[in-house]
């Protein structure tokens, strides 16, 4: 049987940072397992930057201010001890990344450049032009090559195996060979990314952001924390969900409905298009819901019109945006308005991390970092520039935590490992041999549709109850769904099948968390409970899965310094 001291699942920013710190102990055998080649990971899509109170641009900035901004941004749902740990260590992480060769943009003094960002009281977002995540991802990969980190590329996680509360290891498939392996491990770091693909076409996420690690931990008995908190961005391209920068509205773009109105006049008469993200997103969806959008169903949209800015201004200020609109929507902004619709951007919830310093979960030996988990530093709403910061910093500490776990723990049993591998083999065989049933893509699309309409930007009791019913039906239908590829080797249809199973489970947790949270907080906005209710809901949702049963509990939020107050900007 394959045996490693530490396995890292996922090769994005968090996974590679974890691997680098765990492999500092040369006596440990460390492997990184990733369903895609490492530099394809979604960390690379982060554009704007990474927050750290370096104080280069504004010497009044401090880690304390970063701490306060993050807590306020989270609508007071973040754990303050974890946020303080995070913000106080970010400056040293930036220096570390600089030393790893990350090409940061620079200021006139030669320091890492910093820019202002939403929700930040000082310009503290360090960046590399508009490709910050990309350059960090590549520099970390280079460091992994240098340090001879072992990668298992195109290996797919099938389950995290826990027997009687003890972590045994993982079951994973070597996609290229089509072979399923039990892997014994003393510790693991799950760093598999978010699950924005529960909304399928209506997300800015890469197509493979299906929360595989989160779903596997959920299945193994680890609760999912705060899954109902999902961040939406108002201006995704209509066809693909690809993000168009906030700068479009910033520069004066109009939002227009089918009858030619600048409809924001109805929702934010003063600020118009410059209202906050969540308000603009809700307004667009209202227009579509009330029949004033274009197109129909999941492909509905409104228009963003930039033509009045003129060619010169568009070319000067928004050249990248124009390029994106041309490449991905086939529209030249100078000549035509571009179809847009809000898009799911980030999942604040995830695997319940119970100790932020080691990023460990309630099960000894299992650690998690990045968007797959919830520490929680983002609470009900993440600030721009805090996600890459999160993956790099907590990736590092999860790696150290997993290293210590591996030194402390011994290999566990193999019975359940073998058994689960056998079960997966049987499933693989059955799926390959199946020639009938609903298409899995159809199930995926219907899941996205119900999640989008009922557990999306607007939420009400009745809609969400409907969604829960639909999700349960889809979970049933999924069992006999048709994947369509009988091949053993490189069977991506099977991988997609498992991914769809994962988003179904997670979508159910999202819906359940959202139904039970009878208040509006951060990204979770309920028509029937429009205000925040600290008395009843200043607490974390924890959802457990045991077979087909989902159980919901709440856990207290750690408040150290900042008492909840109204969140005003």
């Amino acid at each position: 049987m394959l045996k490693f001291d530490v396995v890292v699942v996922g090769a994005g920013g968090a996974g590679m940072m974890a691997a680098l710190s765990a492999s500092k102990d040369k006596n440990l055998k460390v492997a990184v397992l990733s369903k895609i080649f490492p530099t394809r990971s979604h960390t690379g899509a982060a554009q704007g930057g990474i927050n750290a109170a370096m104080g280069y641009r504004d010497n009044t900035d401090s880690t304390e201010k970063h701490f306060r901004d993050t807590v306020k941004g989270s609508d007071f749902l973040a754990d303050q001890d974890a946020v303080e740990f995070f913000t106080s260590r970010m400056p040293e992480i930036i220096s570390e990344l600089d030393f790893y060769g990350v090409p940061f943009s620079r200021d006139e003094n030669g320091h890492v450049a910093q820019r202002p960002f939403g929700g930040a009281s000082s310009p503290r977002t360090c960046y590399s032009a508009d490709k910050t995540g990309h350059v960090i991802l590549h520099a970390l990969y280079e460091q992994c090559l240098k340090n001879k980190v072992q990668f298992l590329n195109e290996w797919f996680l099938l389950s995290v195996v826990v027997e009687n509360g003890e972590f045994e290891g993982l079951v994973a498939m070597d996609i290229r060979e089509g072979k399923i392996y039990p892997i014994q491990a003393k510790s693991v770091v799950i760093a598999s990314g978010g699950f924005g693909r529960i909304y399928w076409s209506r997300t800015t996420n890469a197509i493979n952001m299906t929360g595989d690690g989160t779903a596997a931990c959920f299945e193994a008995g680890i609760p999912i924390k705060d899954p109902e908190f999902i961040q939406f961005h108002p201006t995704g391209l209509a066809q693909t969900g690809v993000l168009l920068s906030e700068a479009c509205r910033g520069e004066g773009g109009y939002l227009i409905n089918r009858v030619g109105e600048r409809f924001m006049a109805r929702y934010a008469p003063e600020k118009m298009e410059l209202g906050p993200r969540d308000l603009v997103s809700r307004s667009i969806e209202t227009e579509i819901k009330e029949g004033r959008g274009f197109g129909e169903g999941m492909t509905s949209y409104v228009l963003m019109d930039l033509r009045h800015l003129g060619e010169k201004k568009i070319m000067e200020r928004l050249p990248q945006v124009r390029e994106l609109a041309m490449e991905f929507e086939g529209v030249d902004l100078i000549k035509e308005p571009v179809p847009i619709r809000p898009s799911c951007h980030y999942t604040m919830g995830g695997i319940h991390v119970s100790d932020f310093e080691t990023c460990s979960t309630p099960i000894d030996g299992i650690h998690a970092a990045g968007e797959c988990c919830s520490v929680s530093i983002h609470g009900a709403n993440r600030l721009g520039g805090n996600s890459v910061a999160d993956v790099v910093l907590f990736g590092k500490y999860a790696g150290i935590g997993a290293k210590e776990s591996a030194k402390r723990r011994i290999f566990g049993g193999t019975t359940k490992l073998e058994q689960e591998a056998t079960e997966w083999n049987a499933k693989f065989k059955a799926i390959r041999e199946n020639t009938v049933g609903t298409s899995m893509f159809d199930i995926r699309n219907r899941l996205a549709e119900t999640m989008w309409y009922n557990v999306g930007i607007f939420r009400t009791e009745s809609d969400m109850a409907k969604a829960l019913e639909t999700v349960d039906e889809l979970i049933e239908e999924y069992k006999d769904a048709y994947a369509g590829d009988p091949a053993e080797k490189y069977n991506m249809a099977f991988i997609n099948y498992v991914e769809i199973g994962n988003i179904l489970k997670l979508a159910r947790a999202v819906t359940m968390g959202a139904l039970n949270r009878k208040e509006s907080r951060g990204s979770h906005s309920r028509g029937d409970y429009p205000t925040r209710n600290d008395e009843q809901f200043l607490k974390h949702t924890l959802i457990y899965k045991n077979g087909n049963k989902y159980r919901l509990e709440y856990a207290p939020v750690k408040i150290t310094k900042y008492q909840p107050e109204e969140r005003k900007y």
Binding site: R40, S41, F99, E327, K489
Partner: protein, 317 residues
């Protein structure tokens, strides 16, 4: 409705064959849309890789009608217009090993990339605790080369690689070496440069295919020129490539034109030329391509040419 006929090169690990699909044309779509349509609506056994779908992850490069493109940011309409056809043939990238259908293997390329030490060798000016100071101008040196998304388009297009997989380095590898050679934070540029020189740096054919297809418009061939001149500055002037460059440089400076008969002798030396090039030269003479008796005279505008040389020197310093 208008249809696009798509032929895709399939490979199941043993055999390869072409499979035909027909897809109704839609305006304003991308190549990735076309592949996804085929996979989700017609044939779930078709394999290709993609992830971010906005040209940052580098997963989805394929060949269409013989040229390499990133599928996600390539407009279907533009491709149909460029090739003036409704028939598209998809193949995996050239110069890569294929796993299945359009899916290629990257690990061997990364092993090759390790030759140039594709990581920073930090200079003593920085530390893990404080990072580095780097000027804005120094950052601009590394801005374009760090746009590389490792999509493999340049390698697929490279005509030298097509005949010299073992010896030559992929343009993206040269780019990675360049990126650290010009990074002010790197303390040991020669450690990246030496392996570049040892791996046929001078064999680039100047066909410009890599540059013209690079989805990030990275100036790969300018970089190769820079790497070559860096090796000469490092003192590597006695190799075939450098001597060939000097021969060009000197001929044009002296006479304003090349002396093609003398070029191989200046590059390879008399003995080597005699041993390897004579049958070739005889064939060339027979076909009237060269005249060994013709010694090119100085051109009339030689002073202008020399002024160009002086100007180039000035610009460089």
């Amino acid at each position: 409705m208008e249809k696009i006929t798509v032929k895709i090169k399939r490979f199941d690990g043993r055999e390869s064959y072409y499979q035909k699909y027909e897809v109704p044309y839609e305006k304003g779509k991308t190549i990735l849309w076309l592949l996804t349509m085929i996979r989700e609506e017609q044939d779930p056994t078709l394999n290709f890789t993609s992830a971010c779908r906005h040209a940052i992850c580098g997963s989805c490069a394929v060949q269409i009608n013989g040229n390499a493109f990133l599928a996600c940011n390539t407009s279907l309409d533009e491709v149909l217009d460029t090739y003036k056809t409704m028939n598209l043939t998809f193949e995996p990238l050239k110069n890569f090993d294929v796993i299945k259908d359009l899916v290629i293997v990257w690990e061997p390329k990364m092993e090759k990339m390790e030759k140039v030490k594709p990581w920073i060798i930090p200079s003593e000016k920085g530390s893990n605790e404080h990072g580095f100071l780097q000027s804005e101008e120094e950052f601009h040196q590394i801005a374009a080369p760090t746009d590389c998304i490792l999509c493999g388009v340049c390698a697929s297009e490279c005509n030298q690689l097509a005949v010299n997989q073992e010896g030559y380095l992929e343009p993206f590898i040269l780019n990675r070496a360049y990126r650290y050679i010009v990074d002010s934070r790197d303390g040991s540029p020669q450690d990246h440069l030496q392996p570049v020189l040892e791996n046929d740096l001078w064999k680039c054919l100047h066909c410009m295919q890599c540059v013209s297809q690079c989805p990030k418009s990275i100036p790969l061939t300018d970089q190769i020129a820079y790497l070559r001149s860096s090796t000469m500055q490092m003192g590597a002037v006695n190799n075939q490539g450098a001597k060939h460059a000097y021969a060009f440089h000197d001929d044009v400076k002296n006479k304003g034109r090349l002396n093609e008969t003398m070029l191989p002798i200046k590059t390879d030396g008399l003995v080597q030329t005699a041993l390897t090039k004579i049958p070739f030269a005889l064939r060339m003479i027979k076909k009237g391509k060269i005249n060994p008796l013709h010694m090119p005279k100085q051109i009339s505008g030689i002073h202008e040419v020399r002024r160009l040389y002086e100007y180039a020197e000035e610009v460089k310093s």
